[in-house]
């Protein structure tokens, strides 16, 4: 046996096409995911230089960022419409498979990749979207790229990458009842900050990670970028294999068993070393709520907003509180909301919707609140409907929508108005993210559901049924 290696080393080694002293490595890309917002200029660049897409077979496109979630037939916004038509034309011209707005495979790009089995352990996966780190949940090396890089991958199926440093995010112990993958990743970012992962690929390890479902793992890896890391991943195990078996783009029969063996062998070896390790105690984590304008600005539900004078970054804290319309030292449970958004590539999968539905079942959304549920993909929507979840939500007063990115970034009509306050299961609470002047609080689906019922943030663990 050779030297013990991390999964990052193993995947990297397998994908180096060209290596030269003093330069980044040229890496081969196994899967390129494309969406309507960050691709038009890349295709335009190909046309201008008379270039083709090198591997249309390794490229897959969908529409998610600005698709309407009601009345799909009419895209009112002419520019959005043009962007979607452009993607359609580009995919037709360059021979790329496209799941457009009406296709059964349509959905948020980071939801459909795993769902279709395009996402597999050991693959290098890129997309013109920073939350591509989501796919790392399967033990893939997946990261977001800019549009010039999208063009580069389309033309060459490769990318220049500096060999990243490795960071072990070790989660000790297990999460308590009612504490979710979302709380875990928020607590990690809250503890270590929004840039501790810069320059690293993170691997999440430890008991709590092993115990998460694949969907929970996706939630964790999804937000790696909010810690500054381009990629975050988890070594594959039997859960990974079980999730993938039978999916459309996964090999079947004998080939599947052979693949599964190779996938399991990718897991980080006992004794492998990382460039850096951080640890966090899972059993100390409580449900989290962000109070500020970046995901690191979060506290446990029982906590308060910070006191400016006590903080290390006074100006930032002051500005954030001001933008958020909050007092210093204000109890989180005193914050009243007027919008609830359950959706996004972080928390819009079937289990997310099931957990939120369990909270709202038989209860009513507070009067003045606009609450929407946006399934991550068309297929998630169908499955949820088959389980009757749509009824649970609509009877409680939620709107049940078509799949897409929706209120995560408000490129379509799903916007939080200026001064509005939203409990959101998405991943970014940046100024203006959900709408100009909108205030976002990031939470788990369970916490968002409970906030919808109570009209303010509450500890979901006090809801009947949650702890049983």
């Amino acid at each position: 046996m050779g030297k013990p290696e991390t999964i990052i080393d193993k995947i990297w080694k397998k994908h180096v096409v060209h290596q030269e002293e003093g330069k980044p490595d040229l890496l081969y890309i196994d899967q390129h995911l494309v969406h309507e917002v960050t691709s038009p200029q890349a295709f335009e660049g190909l046309r201008m230089n008379n270039r083709k897409v090198r591997r249309p077979d390794l490229t897959f496109a969908t529409m998610d960022h600005n698709v309407p979630t009601i009345n799909r037939q009419v895209v009112k916004d002419e520019i959005s419409k043009k962007q979607m038509e452009t993607l359609k034309q580009n995919c037709a011209d360059f021979g790329i498979k496209l799941a457009d707005m009406f296709h059964p495979d349509q959905g948020i790009v980071h939801v459909i990749g795993p769902q279709l089995g395009l996402t597999q352990p050991g693959k290098t996966i890129v997309c013109g979207d920073s939350h591509t780190s989501t796919h790392g949940a399967f033990g893939a090396l997946a990261f977001g790229i800019g549009t010039s890089e999208v063009e580069h991958v389309l033309a060459t199926q490769t990318i220049w990458q500096e060999r990243p440093k490795s960071l072990n995010v070790k989660v000790i112990g297990d999460l308590g009842p009612g504490v979710t993958a979302k709380d875990l990743i928020l607590a990690i970012i809250g503890k270590f900050g929004v840039r501790f992962g810069t320059g690293y690929v993170m691997e999440y390890t430890g008991e709590a990670i092993r115990n998460l479902s694949m969907e929970g793992r996706m939630t964790v890896c999804n937000m790696s970028i909010e810690a500054g890391a381009r990629a975050g991943l988890i070594s594959p195990d039997q859960k990974t294999i079980d999730y993938l078996e039978g999916r459309e783009y996964v090999p079947n029969g004998e080939a599947f068993y052979k693949a599964a063996e190779e996938w399991l062998a990718l897991a980080t070896d006992e004794g492998a070393t990382y460039d850096h390790t951080v640890t966090i105690q899972a059993d100390e984590i409580e449900p989290q709520v962000t109070w500020g304008t970046n995901p690191g600005m979060c506290v446990p539900i029982g906590g308060n907003t910070p006191v400016v004078a006590d903080s290390d970054h006074k100006e930032d804290v002051k500005r954030a509180l001001e933008y958020m319309g909050l007092e210093e030292n204000q109890p989180i449970t005193s914050i009243e909301i007027d919008h609830v958004f359950i959706g996004s590539c972080t928390n819009s999968r079937l289990s997310d919707l099931e957990k939120a539905a369990a909270i709202v079942k038989g209860r009513k959304v507070k009067d003045h609140i606009k609450a929407i549920v946006v399934p991550g993909s068309f297929s998630v929507k169908l499955q949820a409907e088959a389980a009757g979840l749509d009824k649970v939500f609509t009877e409680a007063g939620f709107e049940w929508r078509e799949s897409g990115c929706s209120m995560c970034l408000g490129m379509n009509d799903d916007i939080v108005p200026a001064g509005g306050r939203c409990a959101s299961t998405s991943n970014r609470n940046f100024e203006g993210r959900q709408g100009n002047g909108a205030r976002t609080h990031l939470v788990s689906p369970e916490m968002a559901a409970a906030a919808a019922i109570e009209g303010r943030f509450v500890d979901v663990r006090n809801f009947a049924g949650v702890l049983s």
């Binding site: 199926q157 810069t198 940046f430």
Partner: protein
């Protein structure tokens, strides 16, 4: 990409850290299918009020920074979304150099691909210059070839930039053309790939 060897220009100080790409270019402007024309939307929600009128309290709107082409910002500049619209907006507005204590990874790459020089530098000098630029019109001279920045007070500092990035900026090289020089290796890799 246009080659850039050196640049002398007026400095605009943006004393904020974790400036994310949602601030640099808000999502409502991501729907264009061109690479140009994003400059007028740069920092839109900071520069303009709800009715689209310039906000006087946002300093970039002040006359003295009208021709600024060097941006000094706080740490972790360009975090968040991978949107290359951010560097497109910055170049289109006229910025050619960005100085910050640290950059987000994706933004750093995106900037380089668009002929912007992102320079990581020590907080101390950076803060001095940020103050200088806040007080009056302040000019810096960035010499990429020699990796030096000088001000008009006689301060000269050197900066680091990976050699291959420097080469590409100096020559304005197209990445794809460079990669295709390795096409044989890509073919060989593909032949072995199962």
């Amino acid at each position: 990409m246009e080659a850039i060897q050196e640049h002398k220009g007026l400095v605009y100080p943006l004393d904020r850290s974790n400036v994310d790409t949602d601030q640099i270019i808000p999502k409502q402007f991501l729907k264009r299918i061109e690479r140009t024309g994003f400059g007028e939307f740069l920092f839109y929600n900071w520069r303009f009020d709800d009715d689209g009128n310039p906000r006087e309290d946002f300093t970039l709107n002040q006359q003295q920074y009208k021709n600024a082409s060097i941006l000094i910002a706080g740490e972790n500049f360009g975090c968040g979304s991978s949107r290359e619209h951010a560097p497109w907006a910055l170049t289109d507005f006229g910025f050619k150099v960005i100085l910050a204590p640290s950059f987000a990874d994706i933004f750093y790459n995106n900037a380089l691909k668009n002929g912007i020089i992102p320079i990581k530098m020590e907080e101390e000098q950076l803060h001095e210059w940020m103050q200088d630029a806040a007080d009056s019109q302040f000019v810096l001279h960035v010499d990429l070839r020699n990796q030096q920045i000088s001000d008009e007070k006689g301060n000269v500092i050197t900066f680091d930039i990976p050699e291959y990035h420097k080469e590409k900026l100096l020559n304005g090289w197209d990445d794809i053309a460079l990669t295709l020089l390795q096409e044989n290796k890509i073919l060989a890799y593909e032949a072995n790939r199962n």
